[in-house]
């Protein structure tokens, strides 16, 4: 906790958890897709489902999907802007098992049909926790620079990625690896202290091309929240 957790964040109202956190959830989904989204199914659970209109949760999530930060006033007009930018969306109420009261599940696709399903909760003060990506249980906040790499569970993958980061002087703060089963789909969540350049992303991609260890030929990178440094 620092002083800007108390005086801050700067945000579009009315609710840090229902509006600012919702915008961040949308932005995470956009970053995980890595492309301009063209279709989104937004499923709202609990208090999100009950109060989304009055809190502008729908506008905030769609604003995030369009790339807006929580303090971007365009969030107010994001529903109209989605139409202009070719993003069609559906909003549904759902009941997710054992989920935090402010949880959204977003299924978002790009023009070539790539789809990511993200479940995340808004846990207060605009902070979020990403709970699930494409059916793999995860747990990260996005407050640090975060690298997300879906891969196939196999020896050497973690070593290769961490080796590349190390040779580029990127310090790993926290790292978790999740897998569905031995040798199956897996995902690496790496929180690092420095921003990751396109060049490093390219190096990781090249390693992938040589070794075919990724589920999909893509590296996903989520940058840190920018709101605090506005």
């Amino acid at each position: 906790m620092d002083v800007f957790d108390i005086i801050g964040p700067i945000m579009v109202g009315p609710s840090s958890s229902h509006t600012a956190g919702a915008a961040r959830i949308g932005k995470v989904a956009r970053n995980l897709l890595g492309q301009e989204p063209v279709e989104a199914i937004i499923e709202l659970h609990g208090s999100f489902a009950q109060t989304y209109k009055g809190h502008g949760t729908d506008r905030a999530i769609i604003g995030g999907l369009l790339g807006f930060e929580p303090d971007d006033l365009r969030i107010r007009d994001s529903l109209a802007m989605a139409a202009q930018k070719g993003l069609s969306y559906t909003i549904r109420k759902v009941n997710l098992k054992d989920a935090h009261p402010n949880t959204a599940r977003i299924t978002v696709s790009d023009y070539s049909g790539n789809t990511v399903v993200v479940t995340a909760s808004s846990v207060g003060g605009g902070n979020i926790v990403v709970k699930d990506i494409n059916g793999l249980e995860v747990d990260f906040t996005g407050r640090s620079h975060t690298i997300v790499i879906p891969h196939r569970d196999a020896p050497g993958v973690v070593a290769a990625v961490t080796g590349l980061l190390s040779s580029n002087h990127i310090n790993i703060g926290e790292m978790k690896v999740y897998r569905k089963r031995r040798g199956g789909d897996a995902i690496m969540i790496i929180e690092v202290d420095q921003a990751v350049s396109q060049d490093i992303a390219y190096q990781i991609l090249c390693w992938e091309t040589r070794h075919k260890r990724w589920v999909k030929a893509q590296m996903i990178y989520i940058s840190r929240w920018k709101t605090m440094q506005r």
């Binding site: 906790m1 620092d2 002083v3 800007f4 957790d5 108390i6 005086i7 801050g8 964040p9 700067i10 945000m11 579009v12 109202g13 009315p14 609710s15 840090s16 509006t19 600012a20 208090s47 009950q50 109060t51 209109k53 009055g54 809190h55 502008g56 506008r59 303090d71 006033l73 969030i75 107010r76 529903l79 969306y89 559906t90 909003i91 549904r92 207060g124 003060g125 605009g126 605090m228 440094q229 506005r230």
Partner: protein
């Protein structure tokens, strides 16, 4: 944090700038929140004062107009600075910005007093809570009033001891205040509680500046706030199920909002 003191000051200065900007947004007669429950009250008060219908004096008037305006701006999806939360965002800026202007305080001093407010807020967040869902409204508008009281004392040249007593006096006055938002939205009673919170901060700062002390030290008051918050039943902690939210009128309003919701849904 790895930032230089200069960068940290600049970031707080930017928060002050957004606080100033957030006032103008709501000082209009026709603004309305998405639910339709709120908007336009800051303007109403502003007009009444302009027409000479003031009961409490110019300084208090200006504080109240700002507190309402920023809280309404928040309800209407304007850009605000959470201080410490979005629901209580009007209290601290209303108090500090008004006194800065009216008493010709240098801007740097006002920005530095925001650090005082933040430090108090951090202590409250650590020992108790600044979330309505955890500790009721005492944790949101109460904390904001305590922070604003201490920051005002600091900005007006009082001692740290006076600042801590100002915080204690403000918090003591709202122990047990429940979080009971109508239809679960940050509007009723939150907006008017921002005005009340600002006046609470002024009273507490004035008493403390006169040398009046809280016999219960501020740390113990914060601990009491935590204990009271833990004792609050869930229906009085931001669930929109108890207190004002459970009144017949509130239930009717909530039903109307949700009915309109399902009519407009883009399915």
């Amino acid at each position: 944090m790895g930032k230089s003191p200069d960068d940290i000051y600049k970031q707080m200065e930017n928060n002050a700038k957004v606080m100033e900007e957030s006032i103008a947004g709501a000082l209009q007669p026709n603004i309305k929140s998405a639910s339709g429950l709120s908007g336009g009250d800051a303007y109403k008060l502003y007009k009444a004062i302009e027409q000479g219908r003031s009961l409490v004096g110019a300084l208090m008037d200006k504080v109240l107009v700002k507190a309402l305006a920023i809280a309404e701006s928040n309800a209407c999806m304007g850009r605000i600075v959470a201080a410490p939360t979005a629901g209580s965002c009007g209290i601290l800026p209303a108090v500090l910005l008004t006194f800065q202007q009216e008493k010709n305080i240098p801007r740097t001093k006002m920005v530095m007093s925001l650090f005082t407010a933040a430090a108090i807020g951090m202590v409250i967040a650590k020992r108790a809570s600044i979330s309505g869902a955890e500790g009721g409204c005492q944790a949101e508008c109460g904390s904001a009033a305590g922070m604003a009281a201490a920051a005002l004392v600091e900005m007006m040249g009082g001692s740290p001891r006076m600042a801590s007593h100002a915080c204690a006096i403000a918090l003591k006055s709202v122990l047990g205040l429940v979080c009971d938002p109508v239809a679960g939205l940050v509007e009723i009673p939150c907006i008017k509680r921002n005005a009340m919170g600002a006046s609470n901060a002024l009273v507490a700062a004035q008493l403390a500046m006169a040398g009046i002390e809280s016999l219960i030290p501020v740390d113990e008051v914060i601990d009491a706030m935590k204990e009271v918050g833990d004792l609050l039943v869930p229906s009085l902690r931001e669930t929109g199920e108890g207190g004002l939210a459970a009144t017949p009128t509130a239930r009717k309003l909530a039903q109307e909002i949700f009915r309109n919701d399902s009519k407009n849904k883009q399915l």
